[in-house]
Symmetry: D2
Subunit: 340 residues, 4 copies
């Protein structure tokens, strides 16, 4: 991806407004990488190309827009990436873009390259930035929800999350072999930033005994009593899933040992949850949303995110998408407890 | 699972009607096995146990009900099976149950064991049988949709399909390595009985060039012309996915060679798509529907299937569930073609 | 596996000596669990059964021998476990067995159940214990090398290690997606107790830039200089693998940041490396060694471990097997550095 | 990889002889693709570069050498491919190279590009061709054994085979779920050309009941009798593995049904066994042999293949390497039968 910059820059006025016909759009990936980003890039490029719209890929997210790191992407450039994790455009977290000066430089790039609209592939933070960018400079941005955190409001699912959930679940299946064989209490920390979505899903699907998430209070004394009672009935192993947004596995394990006197082990799954070959669902969602984003952008929609809601493609205003997403935890939590 | 039959049989009248309190239910898996069946069994058993309802497991599907192959299942009996493919209760296709004599014998088993209701985990054929059984003998049956074919009408998704799709996709990813390296045309046949759901999904997610499904006509001459044109542009490899319900990969490959003169390879993925460790989504769906089926049955619902529709748990009359499910193929098909 | 103890105990003299015909052997798994243990158990049971020798399974390793937790294992008892991680016999680390009192009680169990010989499936610590047990009580023990640490001297490979290596490698592949996309330095800690075998192998196979192992000194200043030089050439991401026996990933990451000023991320893979479905090679090795152990034991060999050495089955005296195994690191290390 | 040909061709005499210092070598992949080929290419390129030797990549195997499809490969060109299946250099089966005219044209390419030596990554057929090429034109070729068939004589293992074995094993694990649940006889055909290596290994590791390979006769009547006897004992499912070099699964399944009257299912695993992410062992072997091939070539060895034999790197004359490799089947076969 590190080829020379051979994009024709122009000195014409920016055509960043909606309504008129778009000739050139830019695509970037920002924030943490999520499995499916490459599939989304592919869909954006090929859908736009099919509509005779040029695509520029911005490297390194907003930072690359500030620095002018762009390159043209044609159909061939996105061959063979559909099943690759990460992002060929690279990504970065960029503080500078949150300053007025940074956005001004980014806007100068938009003008210089005559970019008519932008597809922003990323998560919550990316959408906050895109909304600011639109608000200040009226650059038509459309968001494609890509994050393993599943924290975009107004839509059902972001596209990296199914892969992350399966990766975490596979890890938990592995750990269960040891937990069962050695009759141990394991505390496993999973990602998800401020939400318990991954934790709740893998705790259910993994047959785990308990889950600790930001969306509901927990009581370590009650958990330890459960363990004691289970032990008395002959139950010998436990897996407790902890969402990173709720607590630290190290801490929880230490406290359980302190309260119960029982040996514990902890595992922090960490960055293995971010990468890897995207699952079918992550790819399907990424491809459909990437294609849809282009159609909506060309149709004059902006300052919105595309997504699925009850199996329908919808757009959600970025202002809404970045609000706290409600997670209905009680039904699942009850099921986890009954199934144990 | 083949322990001796130590269930207390009773001579009391069958309590197969709904409305009164259920004390004992039976669970069986029928038709082709689907990943997640064990998770569903686990959910049925533990949810019922939690409600102080006894559970009998019927071995070998309807056939076991005819033969009286039943065994009690308690919480411990369903430990450690949540991530196992297949079904611990075994399954079978049973012609005898489609006869009056067969159903009569099955009903005698229901009476003998004082079974108040039945959870039937299976696909289309299983639901046809359950509906017949209810119609003739008023045995309260509730269906849990388990099949890789995703052909149950009125609900979004059956629970084995996500696993089957990912298995097929993984196989296609592997084949693409060879297809790209050797610059060949591959024709890959996937399962799905009369529906193109798996084929369409993996063709999209696998970045495949073409897909042949029962839901839409296909034109091999046009496909061969596409290949010729692509070849002229420098495109060197193709993957064509064929749904088993539409055509045979062997046939399609032979015809493409006949028309185009090009060497082809075919692969019939076959039964690898049926087994394997269920994905997170297959397990989640199986667990939630298994639990819900028990709740609905105890609440007096029967002759229905449980399922998700737009993220809500719903019940669908079995008569409706067994109708032909419509699959919206055009949007996805167009996307596949644009993305190529 | 937790059935009632229905083994016929006898008051006859122990027949623990070699040379005479064995009628009943015991098998146990001890120390950390390793993928393939179940395959080894299967091979032990079926090979012995084929020779008309009875097999008792000891639960919970040495601890179960002390407590008298034994159960008969026939061919059917080991069905369907060949591809399962963990161990159906459970395992434990047992301090009591390292005391004279503990071994005395264990020996009483051996006498009580008329056990003629024992197959001990485990790693270094297990072999130390088996050798002590033989030395003190002349119980014929034969060791089957099962550990992910690959630290048994005199043989090529223990049988869990190939699975652990592939699990760690898969995790590293995932992390590389993020490392490349976000252009970060990652420090990844892998298991291996006092040896760098896993670390060295995954660093090579994972295309990692650096590896820190107990077998050779490392210089963080030199590593940071490499990173700086690479960065100047345009290289943007690094993965440094750390063997748990050499250092802590947290510490190494912290120090690299301190020296270089560069942001780092660390991941401790931990217990995901222990479990999971064994690879083909882990199963093959487990099955062959399990079978061979029985043959050797029945042929009067004891106080030894079985293993492969240059593709030949060999036995190694336990005293030798527990010595420090030399690992030829320089060739591989040089290759890792050249390939970067 | 399809960039323009910007290699400096020269009119100087070919320096294809050994002994003098090499300045430029070529690398190609030929025959069927094997997982690890990309890792081997990476090792060849980076090892040569480290020795200040230029590397040209030949596209499409021998065919590309005839057509003059070459491109320079530097260290960066082989980034990020270590874990990719297939080959970035493409491969082909080339009849023309087996003619005198074809080889003459290929030799002209060698002279034109001033190629001092060649690394030939491939299997048996590739080595036959390389040996012919050396014999006729004295082009220094060194072979790197890459094939899933494991049929190179004089060395322990070729580098794609471990991946193919694990892929086939995973498929068999999946099929076992259905075989067990539906109590069926499955016949599964695996690859391996004229050898039974894959079949024998997966039959053992997969806990399969029977295996049919080219290296030993088989008796379908005896197999059907085994099935009948097993059935009488309560055994309900069978998996019979067939090597493609011995028989066709379709045929075997048909005959078993004809003899036994029992329903059977067949699966031909086919090309899924060729691709996919290489396992740790496939990568390690590919990297070590790729590096070693360069060292040997630069040291003046040619007309040989590199390989491991009893954990030592060795070279084997191509004439020997292409002989029929003996496979010791009886020990493994007996074990398979005992373990059933």
């Amino acid at each position: 991806m590190e080829g020379s910059m051979d994009v024709q820059s122009t000195s014409t006025e920016a055509r960043a407004g909606a309504g008129e016909t778009m000739k050139r759009i830019a695509v970037l990936t920002t924030g943490g990488d999520a499995p499916g980003m490459n599939a989304a890039i592919r869909a954006v490029v090929r859908t736009a190309t099919h509509q005779n719209v040029e695509v520029l890929g911005v490297l390194h997210g907003w930072s690359g827009l500030i620095q002018g790191e762009l390159k043209p992407l044609d159909s061939r450039a996105v061959s063979g990436i559909i099943n690759q994790g990460g992002t060929i455009l690279k990504t970065a977290r960029c503080q500078e873009f949150h300053t007025e000066a940074g956005q001004k430089r980014a806007f100068e790039t938009v003008q210089q390259y005559a970019i008519d609209g932008m597809v922003v592939i990323g998560g919550n933070g990316s959408f906050v930035a895109a909304h600011e960018f639109y608000t200040r400079y009226r650059v038509s941005c459309i968001g494609v929800p890509a994050t393993i955190d599943n924290d975009i409001n107004g839509i059902d699912m972001t596209f990296g999350v199914d892969t992350a959930v399966n990766t975490a679940l596979h890890a938990i299946d592995n750990i269960r072999d040891t937990s069962t064989s050695m009759e141990r209490v394991f505390v496993i920390e999973v990602m998800g930033r401020n939400t318990g979505y991954i934790a709740l899903t893998v705790a259910l699907a993994g047959g785990c005994e308990e889950v600790i998430i930001p969306e509901r209070p927990y009581d370590l004394n009650a958990i330890c009593q459960d363990i004691a009672e289970g032990h008395a009935r002959g139950k010998a192993s436990w897996i407790i899933v902890v969402a990173e947004g709720a607590a630290s596995a190290v801490e929880i394990a230490r406290k359980i040992t302190a309260i119960s006197g029982r040996e514990t082990r902890h595992v922090v799954l960490g960055h293995i949850q971010r990468g890897g070959r995207p699952t079918a669902f992550s790819r399907e969602l990424a491809l459909r949303l990437g294609g849809e984003a282009v159609h909506r952008l060309l149709a004059g929609e902006y300052d919105k995110a595309v997504g699925f809601c009850d199996h329908q493609v919808v757009t959600v205003n970025l202002e809404v998408a970045i609000q706290k997403k409600a997670l209905d935890v009680e039904g699942i939590y009850r099921l986890i407890r009954i199934l144990t």
